[in-house]
Subunit: 368 residues, 2 copies
Amino acid sequence: MSFPSLNDIETPAALVDEDRLERNLAKAAAYMRQHGLRWRPHTKTHKVPQVAAMQLDAGAVGVTVATPREVEVMGSVADDVLLAYSPVGASKLERLMALPQRVRLSVGLDSWTVMAGLIEAARKAKRTVGVLVELDLGMRRVGVQTPEKAVELAREAARVECLEYQGVMFYPGHIRMPLAEQGPALAEVSNRLGTFLDALGAAGLKPGIVSGGSTPTLWRSHEVVGMNEVRPGITPFFDRASAWMGACDWEEVAYSVLATVVSTEVPGQAVIDAGSKALAKEELPIGGYGALLDRPEVVVYSLSEEHGLLDLSRTTWKPRVGERVRVVPNHVCVSVNLQDDLWAVRGSEVVKHWGVEGRLRGQGRLLL
Amino acid sequence: MSFPSLNDIETPAALVDEDRLERNLAKAAAYMRQHGLRWRPHTKTHKVPQVAAMQLDAGAVGVTVATPREVEVMGSVADDVLLAYSPVGASKLERLMALPQRVRLSVGLDSWTVMAGLIEAARKAKRTVGVLVELDLGMRRVGVQTPEKAVELAREAARVECLEYQGVMFYPGHIRMPLAEQGPALAEVSNRLGTFLDALGAAGLKPGIVSGGSTPTLWRSHEVVGMNEVRPGITPFFDRASAWMGACDWEEVAYSVLATVVSTEVPGQAVIDAGSKALAKEELPIGGYGALLDRPEVVVYSLSEEHGLLDLSRTTWKPRVGERVRVVPNHVCVSVNLQDDLWAVRGSEVVKHWGVEGRLRGQGRLLL
């Protein structure tokens, strides 16, 4: 199969630097080994089964997913899939239960309603589903609020024959500060986790899996007392937010959006053909929606749907219409979700095409 | 063809209230007729050829698009397509020139470089392409800055045999304030437009088409002196921003995202399965990322990728896990761009399925 050259590829187009991707995977794997942590990467970041396969080859124990489509796509390469999301509704449950029996499926949940739906679906499908009780350790999004409720849900999961009580999960997504400032927040997470683990242990329900972790806190995961599994998403690719938080160096960022300069008429700026429909419009405390990979001093200061505006006030570079640039978006997961294709590059050569197969959602195309 | 019921459809799913859609189209068409304005709706909002066909049936003179994919998809239902975007790069130009000859294609541009590329491609394809010179009337995104440059580009477009000089275009996208406050900003647009029109007229290049308009300013388009065509995008569907700006009543909003409550564990809120990957995370001065269609006092106050958090502080409603809601996002165009499917509903019955065919971008799937 032959690929277009970087000069011919139509913009905007999403690129993955495969050398950096491989180094990022090796670094994450080494950290997990060093600290004896199970690594279960969240594949919502890339939604590409080939990238999930690379993570499994590098030592991941399984994968994490967020949607039924991701379960289906990742189930083709992984034999251990955690849906870190409560499945609600007949369509979602049916799709989960249709997963091949060779795939071990686990689900995170925080309520009796979700557990009841899962029990009914699992019985009907004659399969066993793993359960992680989801805890709220300070993010205030989902998760049980009290050790008592965690114990009750865990006890029921352990009792019912079609469920397997595996442990607990949480997501410290409220910790989005630079690396140096994370210590106190992580200590607080440890404290809150401890009260849950103590209660579960006292009830004879000591969790086998204590799953947490996020990319911002990735390299300090070993400081969270009692956690034995982490589910970072952004690690293979990284982004502008990761670099700002100190989770990676700028030279480790593997994902960018190739764009073309389409106008330089307004003084002080250049306009590229990557807007909010290619980069996604997510804010950061440092301002802007992205920065150029090779000129990080040039920031995308404004986005409309198909236009990105580059601030040229801190560069001597004078872009011309037709010139191409690589933009690192603030948040890679939502940018990937806007793509149909990822192009893997080595240096300036395009070496692979990956379809973003986990992106499709809903059942529309499948029903008709 | 049978469709799933609203109770069975997998969430998140994008819905279009077809009764409201029809009323919105009729209202826009009547306004244009009343004021003698050409109506060239921007189809980037819906990306659905069937909706474009409804707009043409209601009286639109043609359609506006932003990308090569939209040109191709809308060219299947329209015989007059304006690409309101400078095409740069061989791949985009080739796709444009491959449009059937029955389709009249026009392009907006603001530079010699874009014009030179267009001339070369049009000559090679033996077709005539319409040109609108793009003016900057205060938005500071794209567009020529001076009447002199507008005259030079217009003169060249009129001279070259494969181009047809049609007029000028602009986008007053910097006017995003509530309707009552738009008057002074629109008068300023009229003043700036006047200097361009005077210079073009004096050079014997009076534009036939003076194309502008946006949804926020839609119902005051007739106040812009000299403008004879408008290109509103959001009109058929509307959204939370439109309602805030007074461009529509809440009861005219035709687009919503059907979502399911998945957690109510954290007090004071409910969590739905529509996050930034279904609603898009765009800010508004009034805060929040969306509101419930049937309970607008309930605002989506926080979004992560697959979770939306409903603020329950201003309602007596007590949502249960499994309950379904319809969310109106802040900005409909970027929410539609996250969907593969739109489901048209009449009351609570699903009556049509539309593929978001203009969404696919780039050439990846086409090349392989």
